[in-house]
């Protein structure tokens, strides 16, 4: 085998190795999905899993998990993520519009840096902050404080994706609006924003998915509850908190519920992700037409 053959063969071998590593990287995804489905499904198939609240653990052997459920956690996650969205989406979208439309302003570079740093800030530190800021002064854990913690997490994600979507809009649209004599706010909010809507929605959906799966910021803010709580002024349960707390307990029945809650969580998060991908593809197609 001459030198060139060796070079060609070794090139092929490296290419093969890299494909192998790529497949290797996907194995954890397959394993996480498989085990979550296999271990979570037995709990999830009982309809009361979605409606009932927690039942006290019965050991050593109680009939599967009949009667017990994570309804309170599903409601808690819904209420807190909903409240967080109400706070984070308007602020985040305006922030993103500022970043895209006034990108030459010197301040926008600092805002952008702050967004990127906030995305990378450990969520547990955000939890500590909200604890000191909202839980200590009011002397009790609450769904509101959990929602604020989640909103802080969502804000930079929404701002940066909105910025990306708005800067995709061709300048012609902006210029034609201004040429017609529209004020800047109408150009931005009534012309540019609707055109960028799919991208903005994608960002909001991704932020919702991220917030829905976060445990750390809720541990010292929403804290968790054993009963169905609808009032966000009280401590509330959330799905990820359920998974975290139950998984570490020695009771088999609660561990089964943790797996069930993990399955619900993963289905929700992956569904939102796939929807947002579909919306984003429409945005790119739309931007191509403009």
């Amino acid at each position: 085998m001459n030198r060139n053959d060796r070079r060609r063969v070794s090139s092929r071998a490296w290419l093969g190795l890299m494909y192998l590593l790529t497949v290797l990287a996907l194995i954890p995804l397959a394993l996480v999905l498989w085990f979550t489905i296999a271990k979570g499904l037995p709990s999830v198939i009982h309809p009361q899993f979605f409606f009932n609240a927690e039942l006290p653990p019965c050991e050593p052997k109680c009939p599967a998990v009949s009667g017990a459920g994570v309804g309170h956690a599903i409601v808690g996650t819904g209420v807190m993520v909903g409240l967080a969205s109400l706070m984070a989406i308007p602020i985040g979208v305006l922030c993103g519009i500022y970043l895209a439309e006034y990108s030459i302003a010197r301040w926008s570079a600092w805002v952008r840096l702050a967004c990127d740093v906030l995305v990378g800030t450990p969520s547990i530190a955000i939890g500590l902050f909200v604890y000191a800021f909202l839980v200590v002064p009011f002397h009790h854990f609450s769904g509101y404080s959990g929602a604020v913690a989640l909103a802080i997490l969502m804000l930079p994600i929404i701002a940066r994706t909105t910025e990306g979507a708005v800067s995709l809009i061709p300048n012609g649209l902006r210029e034609s609006g201004l040429a017609l004599g529209l004020p800047r706010w109408r150009v931005s909010l009534q012309l540019i924003l609707p055109a960028a809507a799919p991208g903005v929605i994608t960002g909001a959906l991704l932020a919702v998915a991220r917030a829905g799966g976060e445990t750390a910021p809720l541990l010292f803010t929403a804290f968790g509850a054993h009963l169905l709580v609808l009032n966000p002024n009280q401590a509330m349960q959330a799905l990820p908190v359920t998974v975290f707390r139950y998984a570490l307990l020695p009771y088999k029945s609660l561990q089964a519920q943790a797996w069930g809650a993990a399955l619900v969580l993963i289905v929700l998060v992956l569904a939102i992700n796939l929807i947002s991908r579909w919306v984003l593809r429409r945005q790119i197609a739309l931007a191509g037409q403009l």
Partner: protein, 317 residues
């Protein structure tokens, strides 16, 4: 009308006139983000006050963690945080760069689309789901099929001894999976931003695919990949829940990579709700403060690296 010497300005410059209230309003709203960041740091600094006053810089280099005698030191938690993060990087970096190279290749867009979506979905899975999976599936498996064989073969090597189901290595393995998407996504973009001309020149000179990749593309994407690595490091340092579930929660500097340890974030997650008195919670908040400051420095450094490379690529392209 036209001012002497006025150059052609971008549209947005029009708004520099004072009569643009919209700019002021959105600018003010946008200021909430840096304000929140500053407020977070200042609040933690203020809340950690009692511990900072009591222990000073000694807090960072002592190893005792005793709520009964109110003496606290962060060294084992800092060691665990840095140790798990770097171990995770060592595992994830070769895989992440390989995936990025494959994803950045032109052609076969269908297969690459599926692979890319798969990697991105890894980032979508909540931390706590990784945690429960690692706790009940990964950790028992690595204990039996990795840690026990390695420690029996490497008998006598201290840091490869004493297998344990929960410990540093298992935490690092989960972290490696969790930071892989960050590593891959940015590396792929940086590799794609390498000017086509460079690659074409190498091919024209008769270089094979591997020679082009290893000697031309990766070296010119080096700074950006380094930035991606540092960004992933920041993520690994701050990751809380999955690590908390598998690291074993032992406030010591472990003598072996298989042994239980603790990280800054997981000490806070486990102990904060039960902390009473003044010094104990303040010490926990100081752990959080150390964590947030370290990740802040790491992230800013990484962002500067990634941005400067992408700008460089745009200029040379």
């Amino acid at each position: 009308m036209a001012v002497a010497g006025a150059e052609a300005r971008p549209v947005a410059a029009v708004s520099r006139r004072p009569g643009d209230p919209f700019r002021r309003v959105v600018g003010l709203v946008a200021t909430l983000v840096p304000a929140a960041l500053l407020l977070i740091i200042l609040t933690l600094l203020q809340q950690a006050g009692p511990a900072i006053k009591q222990f000073g810089l000694r807090f960072l280099v002592t190893s005792e963690w005793n709520p009964v005698t109110d003496s606290f030191g962060a060294l084992p938690a800092i060691f665990g945080t840095v140790g798990t993060a770097f171990l995770a990087l060592a595992i994830a970096l070769p895989v992440g760069v390989a995936v990025a190279v494959i994803l950045a290749e032109p052609g076969q867009t269908r297969i690459r689309g599926v692979l890319g979506t798969g990697i991105e979905l890894l980032a979508a899975i909540p931390s706590v789901v990784y945690g429960i999976w690692a706790l009940y599936v990964l950790a028992p498996w690595t204990y039996e099929h990795l840690e026990i064989p390695i420690s029996t073969h490497a008998a006598g090597i201290g840091w490869l001894g004493d297998p344990a189901v929960r410990g540093l290595l298992n935490a690092a393995l989960v972290l490696a999976v969790m930071i892989l998407p960050t590593l891959t996504a940015i590396s792929r973009d940086v590799i794609r931003a390498v000017p086509r001309g460079l690659k074409e020149n190498a091919i024209a000179l008769g270089a094979t695919w591997w020679e082009t990749t290893w000697r031309v593309i990766l070296p010119s994407a080096r700074a950006g990949i380094f930035g991606a690595t540092i960004l992933a490091l920041g993520r690994a340092l701050g990751e809380t829940i999955a690590v908390t579930m598998v690291i074993g929660n032992a406030y010591v500097i472990p003598h072996s990579i298989f042994q239980p340890a603790y990280t800054l974030a997981s000490v806070v997650a486990n102990e904060f709700t039960e902390a009473t008195g003044t010094i104990y919670p303040a010490a926990l908040i100081e752990l959080g403060l150390v964590l947030i400051l370290v990740t802040l420095v790491v992230n800013v450094f990484a962002l500067i690296l990634v941005h400067s490379t992408s700008r460089e690529a745009r200029l040379t392209a």
